[in-house]
């Protein structure tokens, strides 16, 4: 007998179904007998019983699943057979897990001879704790179910209770995302602190030399400025030079000129563009755009033109961002009241004048917010730059030269064989933290602008 959580969950779900039926039947019966009107409809009474039956038992199941292995192991270690185990380390763990696997029937026989005497204690302990767990769970389920069942009366407010429980469940669900974000920040923070013990934050933020070559004779240098510059050159300058005008023009066309049928086709197509995996853009940048740009640069006689140019990555990233900018601009232009447009047209302005002088200025705050969000996406984008931007940390304004970005370096630092506590590896976390903070700030500012703008027209 082992403890199978999935089967047990199914069991209590079945019990909950019975509880649901019973609760519903009882409320009907009571109401019929008393000749009274039920406060809540019968299925709410059913749900009330079912939830009381299911929730405590399921919670117990979750807790027990994580606690019982430790209890089992403790019991095994207390037996005489365990006294001969090596005291610490890898071997002890291997013997224990070997014995556990046999006891649970996952393995036909022990691989380590020392594990053989432990199989029986393990099986006994598992058996015992499985029964304890199942009994406790069933007891909880029945207690919960009975408690709820006895509370059913015609005037019992089952609907209100059920609504409250549902609200709690939804609240818990929404907390998951928030708590995960906290967890991410904390883990980034801890690893970054370890890095900053080895290298000062000032060096990372203001140093101009990036050479994390661990094992080299000269000391590693972690000056982040070349990476930040590369990120800005690709994500905030080149990509935006591509995305802003094209995205804006797309939005203007779609909101002001396009016939409804055209709009119906073009908008979903743009959204598909936004859904293309970034690695596909990466291929496109590395295999098609970059070589073409290099040939073009060589033809113009530009020095140190590279196949891993900032321009190739930036242009493709800009194309990737176009749907993002255009849909934000589209929303902003649509949010400008029709009255504004009519007012301008009624003065004899052409549609073009109306767009340039009234609609776009009126929509500008919203558009700016959208652009900031787009920048924050662009600087966090990884695949395109990993595949197309190269890894040499140059500080150059020449868009045909190779530069590197924060995200590309993070990937480089974390891939390959290396110990997990070297400054080189830890630097990836510090860079991640910087990136996280910058994009967070950008997002906060952008969302504020967008929100204030929305309020202005409501």
């Amino acid at each position: 007998m082992t403890f199978n959580a999935a089967a047990l969950l199914l069991l209590i779900a079945g019990l909950a179904l019975i509880g649901w039926l019973a609760g519903r039947a009882r409320s009907n019966l009571l109401a019929g007998r008393a000749g009274a009107k039920l406060h809540s409809r019968p299925q709410y009474h059913g749900w009330y019983v079912a939830l009381w039956l299911f929730a405590p038992a399921a919670l117990f199941l979750a807790v027990w699943s994580s606690v019982s292995p430790a209890l089992i192991t403790n019991q095994v270690l207390a037996t005489e057979a365990a006294q001969s185990l090596p005291s610490f380390g890898f071997e002890r763990g291997a013997i224990l897990s070997d014995a556990r696997a046999v006891a649970q029937g996952k393995q036909a026989d022990v691989r380590l001879p020392a594990a053989a005497p432990l199989v029986k204690p393990y099986a006994d302990a598992s058996h015992k704790y499985a029964w304890i767990g199942i009994a406790a769970m069933l007891a909880l389920a029945l207690a919960g179910g009975l408690y709820a069942f006895t509370r059913i009366k015609p005037d019992f407010r089952a609907r209100t209770r059920v609504e409250k429980i549902v609200m709690l469940v939804l609240l818990l669900a929404s907390l998951v995302a928030i708590l995960t974000t906290f967890g991410i920040v904390l883990s980034l923070l801890f690893e970054s602190i370890r890095f900053f013990r080895l290298v000062s934050p000032a060096e990372l933020l203001f140093g101009t030399e990036w050479a994390p070559t661990s094992g080299a004779p000269q000391p590693d240098t972690f000056g982040g400025i070349p990476l930040f510059w590369g990120t800005i050159l690709i994500g905030a300058i080149i990509a935006m030079i591509v995305a802003i005008p094209i995205g804006m023009m797309t939005a203007v066309y779609l909101t002001q000129y396009a016939a409804p049928t055209v709009r119906k086709w073009v908008k979903p197509l743009l959204e598909i563009l936004a859904g293309v995996p970034t690695v596909v853009y990466g291929y496109f940048a590395a295999l098609t755009v970059a070589p073409a740009l290099r040939e073009f640069a060589v033809m113009l006689g530009i020095p140190n033109a590279s196949t891993e140019s900032a321009l190739a990555a930036g242009i493709v990233m800009g194309v990737m961002i176009i749907p993002f900018v255009s849909s934000m601009a589209d929303d902003s232009i649509n949010a400008v009241p029709q009255a504004m447009r009519d007012g301008s047209l009624a003065l004899g302005a052409t549609p073009n004048e109306t767009i340039r002088q009234v609609l776009i200025p009126a929509a500008l705050p919203g558009v700016m917010g959208g652009i900031l969000l787009a920048v924050s996406r662009a600087i966090g984008e990884t695949m395109i730059v990993v595949m197309a931007a190269g890894l040499s940390a140059n500080m150059t304004a020449n868009p045909f030269a190779s530069v590197t970005t924060v995200t590309a370096q993070i990937v480089k630092l974390l891939t390959g064989d290396q110990e997990f506590d070297s400054a080189k590896t830890l630097a990836a976390f510090a860079l991640g933290l910087v990136l996280f903070i910058v994009t967070l700030l950008l997002n906060i500012v952008a969302l504020r602008i967008v929100k204030r703008y929305r309020e202005a027209y409501e």
Binding site: P260, P337, A339, M340, R341, D342, G343, S344, L345, A346, L347, G348, A349, T350, E353, Q357, V358, P361, A362, A456
Partner: protein, 260 residues
């Protein structure tokens, strides 16, 4: 010609047999009306009677609605405004419009008024534009209130001031006709009184057509009144006649408050 003379010898705008359709639905049915040069003409009628629709066909604002179609003849100074040769941009410069809800642009007061003259190239330089803006604001009765803060946003003004700013904006392009689509319906009584006073002052300088569902307002500001019902023109005549001696039963029922 006195203003009380019913015959309009020299109409500014002439509409003849006008129908307006929104898709399949006919919103205006065979309306013929003349708009006098020196007169204020009021369109009254219950909600949905088509008075605003008809007003918007006088400067082709219905063009912005894709499903709208206008048939019949509308002339401005004898020129068919729906003729292919008519430039809608010039038409709207000559026939200005003030809307139900004040809709100043999110620009400065100065730029709101200067917008029209700039796009039509009426002011070759800044000094000329200053003159035009000041004149329009004076005519709209707003100059004294805003002359010290022309750089402030037009949207920061009160509702009544915003509406007078919109009137100044329309005047600044020097139109011949001003169409007003329920210009006071979003304003309080004091602001309404100011707009009505302004309409009195503007009469004679521009042909004015005002849509209103406030019958007292029509009686106060207009010399001609047209009563619309269910997309048709029921009665058109001197305002005093319409309100004291209507010829049609439906008009009488409406102005005495039986329906509407």
């Amino acid at each position: 010609m006195t203003q009380d003379d019913l015959t309009i010898a020299d109409p500014k705008m002439k509409a003849h047999g006008v129908n307006v359709f929104y898709g399949e639905k006919q919103a205006i049915n065979d309306v013929s009306i003349d708009v006098g040069t020196d007169l204020v003409t009021a369109f009254i009628g219950p909600s949905g009677c088509g008075k605003s629709t008809f007003l918007r066909s006088l400067n082709r604002m219905n063009d912005t609605v894709a499903s709208a179609k206008v048939t019949g003849q509308i002339e401005l100074d004898g020129e068919d405004i729906y003729a292919p040769s008519m430039d809608v941009v010039q038409l709207r410069a000559r026939v200005g419009m003030v809307f139900q809800k004040p809709n100043p642009f999110p620009k400065s007061i100065y730029d709101n008024v200067g917008y029209g003259p700039r796009i039509h190239g009426l002011a070759p330089n800044k000094a000329d534009l200053d003159v035009i803006v000041e004149r329009a604001l004076v005519r709209a009765g707003l100059w004294d209130e805003v002359k010290d803060r022309l750089a402030e946003s037009g949207t920061a003004l009160s509702g009544g001031q915003q509406q007078r700013l919109c009137i100044a904006r329309a005047i600044a392009v020097d139109p011949e006709v001003i169409l007003m689509d329920e210009p006071c319906s979003a304003l309080d009584p004091i602001a309404t009184a100011k707009i009505e006073e302004l309409i009195h002052e503007l009469r004679g300088k521009y042909a004015i057509v005002i849509v209103t569902h406030n019958m007292q307002q029509a009686a106060r500001v207009s010399q001609r009144t047209a009563f619309f019902h269910l997309g048709t023109l029921v009665e058109y005549g001197k305002t005093t006649d319409i309100f004291t001696n209507p010829k049609q039963e439906r008009t009488k029922d409406y102005i005495t408050g039986r329906y509407g």
